[in-house]
Symmetry: C2
Subunit: 243 residues, 2 copies
Amino acid sequence: MRYELFYWPSIQGRGEFVRLALEEASAEYIDVARERGRGRGVAAMQRLMSGRELTRPPFAPPFLRAGHQVIAQTANILHFLGPRLGLAPESESARLWAHQLQLTVEDLVVDVHDTHHPVGGSLYYAEQRDEARRRAGFFTGERAPELLGYFEQVLQTNSGGRGYGVARRLSYVDLSLFQVVAGLRYAFPQLMEQLEPSLPGLVALHDRVKQRPNIAAYLASPRRLPFNEDGIFRHYPELDCSD
Amino acid sequence: MRYELFYWPSIQGRGEFVRLALEEASAEYIDVARERGRGRGVAAMQRLMSGRELTRPPFAPPFLRAGHQVIAQTANILHFLGPRLGLAPESESARLWAHQLQLTVEDLVVDVHDTHHPVGGSLYYAEQRDEARRRAGFFTGERAPELLGYFEQVLQTNSGGRGYGVARRLSYVDLSLFQVVAGLRYAFPQLMEQLEPSLPGLVALHDRVKQRPNIAAYLASPRRLPFNEDGIFRHYPELDCSD
């Protein structure tokens, strides 16, 4: 199966959680909006979103084409891909648990996005800087410690899992938690310096994922876009917590 | 199977999407935090959330206990319950599509919540009234028309489905879309007065769901909590759009 991933071409964003799973599994895929030619590029993505060609159109990127199916919503894509890529546990109950964790990762992603866009996604950051400062204070002071503490607890509880989030081997949830740590280190270095001593399981998981051969090769390749100030994890020093 | 639903006892909130599915299916369930006695009440819910008793603790309500499983995240709960309650389509691809729509409902729910809590959930509305006004303007001006227009398009495209969102019979997605229309009418009556003429499919779906015998009986019972200003759909006239 050759997968087609549709996502904005210049940011990691939500698409990155899907890219990491495809890369870890050495899946054959096309990052459609980043390529040129017929049926490629952002225009091709937007045409599918317009809903005229599909009976099940996505509301927003990322979405994935797998044969005749077009699947949207990041966590839903991973719920679909996980078993096919060998990145999900076997039992239905463990798959629901993995999906539940991924949806909680998504909650964190929404929170991170809203630190710089608390008013609206179609406005520039500069147009909502005051609101962003307050929202970011809530994120660094309350939500980030709560959510990261929760994931740390999950990793510690699953101690039979050799440090993985679910069951006893790598799943897409682990790849997403790697991305969360990497993204937060980029966007909120001061916050992470404060929090990481209390998150040994998450930090170790990040390091282990980063060293996996397929992930290391991906991170060193031009396919891995750099973090930037158009994505979800943005480094605005004024939003990070002070010492 | 007797289900146990755990959710805040005084609001509809996210729990209501689960309650509607359980009620439509005449499922046997206990709304644990709304009852008293041993193993009941908010304290019982919070004890489970503390993570000391469960190897797979939820991050936040709502969550559902079904035998030995405890499942959190609203859309995940419905993904689990749907097939068991006869409220999901048969094929895997249609189930993913239903789940994708439910996750998009969840996006709208986050947007609605953030109209009155754009800074932080632990602060009072009065502490973020200025930010709320801007955020609500973005919601009424852009996000609500976009999201509701998307659901309308889905209903129109699925015209073989006799007005249902997915396939040819009622699913949990339809119950959730009923709740979205009911909630938005309560919270943003002016907005809905403007938008509804362009949403005939959604309005008709709302009316049809409301008249289903089990739903009508539920809505007339004390089990249906009234909308109020502690839940997700809150009526603050200053946040509604003006004429």
